[in-house]
């Protein structure tokens, strides 16, 4: 069963983390190790990072179908920073993986405890069958 695990940008200042260098390295190493283990266990379907949200656009269709791109995001908006799609045997396994990535190390090596949203992915038929 496929699950999507979503990680939002860290709220503080909405900028890139201003951590000490070795803490940054530890965080990056953790994420790489996580993805590598998922690839080795055969559970990894996708792991993607999104560009920083300063270029994010909210787009609606205008009257004539042309895009209107001046949409404003609500103040409290949480932006997606990245996601993983995993193919696992049970929801419990998905939650366990999410918990692991939630505990990724931050400042001083302390677990960040980020909230990771976990949603099951619909098994859509492949495009050729549509």
């Amino acid at each position: 069963m496929k699950y999507m695990m979503m990680m939002n940008t860290m709220k503080v200042g909405q900028g890139v983390p201003a951590w000490p260098k070795k803490d940054l390295q530890a965080h990056i190493a953790f994420m790489r190790k996580f993805a590598k283990e998922l690839a080795e266990s055969g559970e990894l379907v996708a792991a993607e990072g999104l560009a920083f949200p300063d270029q994010a656009k909210l787009v609606r269709a205008g009257k004539d179908g042309l895009p209107i791109t001046d949409g404003v995001f609500p103040e409290s908006k949480e932006f997606l920073a990245g996601y993983w799609i995993v193919d696992v045997d049970s929801p419990e396994r998905a939650y366990a993986l999410a918990a692991r990535v939630s505990a990724a190390p931050g400042i001083g090596g302390e677990p960040l405890n980020m909230p990771i949203e976990v949603r099951q992915v619909m098994s859509a038929p492949p495009p050729e069958m549509l």
Binding site: V16, P17, A18, K21, I28, A51, F52, E128
Partner: protein, 420 residues
């Protein structure tokens, strides 16, 4: 030779033969899209059969025969279909190829077929991504799956891109012949641009994912070498090949085991490929001796100055600065201006470099670009403005879409912050 190495050398041979086979089939049947598909099928058949049956004595003839048979089969079923619809005799005459063709005879290939194909695939009717995909297929001999994997899109998507590219070629009516000298000089820049983009795509890809991906930068070098072989007097082709070699030479030193980006000034030069540097410099010297100086040659010359320095401290920055001044006169590309500012800073100090950045702030083509912030941060650091440098490293990190770059820039800010 191990089975794996054997298959690998078969694949390499097939890629070399692909454009020659396509040229031969096109000369006989004139339908680019169908010929390209038929050649693909012949290549796939070879990959399946040759490892078991052995490579045929005339591999090119074998491929031409298989592809041509496929074309004939298609034509016959088209003829049969049309026979059911209208008068057949005229159709049979115009569509069936001459019976005296014997593909098993040694075929004296017209050496310009690769060039003809390259000019067709890089035609201005195509978008750059279509041209890249079609070039890799028709001239590079890569399979659709290999190209899809290289660009991280589904195979069906890449197949469509290639199919549409072929339709654009058909619609543009470009004939299968070598362009005139005048046409060549007009259209060669597009060809070189596509080859350069393929090289860049391969060069900037993370090393981790290279395991199952075709080496695009090696493919680009191979194709450019072929063009150079066919146009040995063309100094811009030589310049591009030199630039690719001199850049590729540094590939192993660019990233460390953890995938972190290592800037040029900090790379382990012992990891640089001396053979590629030698070849690049030789090509460049020959090209420069001919007099005319173009964009690729200048960029290659700059790369050569870097590659010749035994240590970063030995880099001949005044020479690099002179080359960038020449480059600036030829191009108003803001990236050139940015790189020129870096050279100015290295020769005349960061304060002068910073001054030059001000002109770029007003240039909408580069104003919000992460590199502008990254270079500014570097200059501010050189001038001792730690807080300014930190701010701009972080802003650059927010603006880049490259994960390794982002990590590098955040780390630079962190490095300075620590000392605070």
């Amino acid at each position: 030779m191990s089975a794996e190495a054997g298959t690998h050398s078969i694949e390499h041979q097939l890629r070399e033969l692909a454009p020659q086979v396509l040229g031969a089939v096109l000369r006989r049947f004139h339908d680019f899209a169908a010929a390209e598909d038929a050649v693909q099928e012949a290549l796939i058949a070879a990959v399946m059969k040759w490892p078991q049956e052995g490579i045929p004595e005339n591999p090119r003839g074998w491929l031409i025969q298989v592809a041509s048979r496929r074309m004939l089969d298609d034509l016959r079923s088209n003829i049969a279909r049309r026979r059911r619809e209208e008068s057949a005799a005229q159709e049979a005459e115009t569509l069936a190829p001459a019976p005296e063709m014997d593909f098993l005879e040694p075929y004296t290939m017209d050496p310009d077929d690769t060039l003809i194909l390259l000019f067709m695939c890089c035609h201005s009717a195509l978008t750059t991504s279509s041209a890249i995909a079609l070039t890799l297929r028709a001239v590079g001999g890569l399979t659709t799956a290999e190209i899809a994997r290289a660009f991280l899109v589904p195979e069906a998507t890449m197949a469509q891109r290639i199919s549409r590219a072929k339709q654009s070629i058909k619609a543009s009516g470009v004939p299968f012949r070598l362009p005139t000298e005048k046409e060549q000089s007009e259209r060669l820049p597009a060809v070189l641009h596509v080859l350069y983009l393929i090289f860049n795509e391969g060069y900037t890809s993370s090393s981790g994912s290279r395991v199952h991906r075709v080496e695009l930068s090696s493919e680009a070098i191979r194709l450019t070498r072929n063009v150079y072989g066919l146009l040995p007097e063309n100094t811009e082709v030589a310049g591009l090949l030199a630039l690719m070699l001199l850049t590729d030479a540094r590939r192993e030193a660019r990233t460390n085991a953890e995938g972190e980006l290592i800037p040029l000034t900090k790379q382990d030069r012992g990891l640089w490929n001396r053979e590629e540097i030698r070849e690049g410099i030789a090509l460049l010297t020959r090209a420069l001796a001919k007099g005319a100086v173009g964009m690729y040659q200048l960029q290659a010359a700059i790369a050569a100055v870097h590659d010749e320095a035994v240590q970063a401290e030995d880099t001949d920055w005044p020479q690099i600065l002179a080359l960038y001044e020449l480059l600036k006169r030829m191009s108003d590309n803001p990236m050139v201006t940015l790189n020129h500012a870096v050279a100015v800073a290295m020769v005349h100090g960061a304060a002068q470099g910073l001054e030059l950045l001000k002109t770029l702030d007003a240039d909408t083509r580069i104003a919000g670009h992460y590199r502008l912030d990254a270079v500014r941060a570097h200059f501010l650091e050189m001038l001792g403005d730690k807080d300014g440098a930190i701010t701009h490293y972080r802003r650059a990190a927010e603006r880049t879409t490259s994960t390794p770059e982002q990590n590098y820039l955040i780390a630079q800010a962190a490095r300075l912050d620590e000392v605070n």
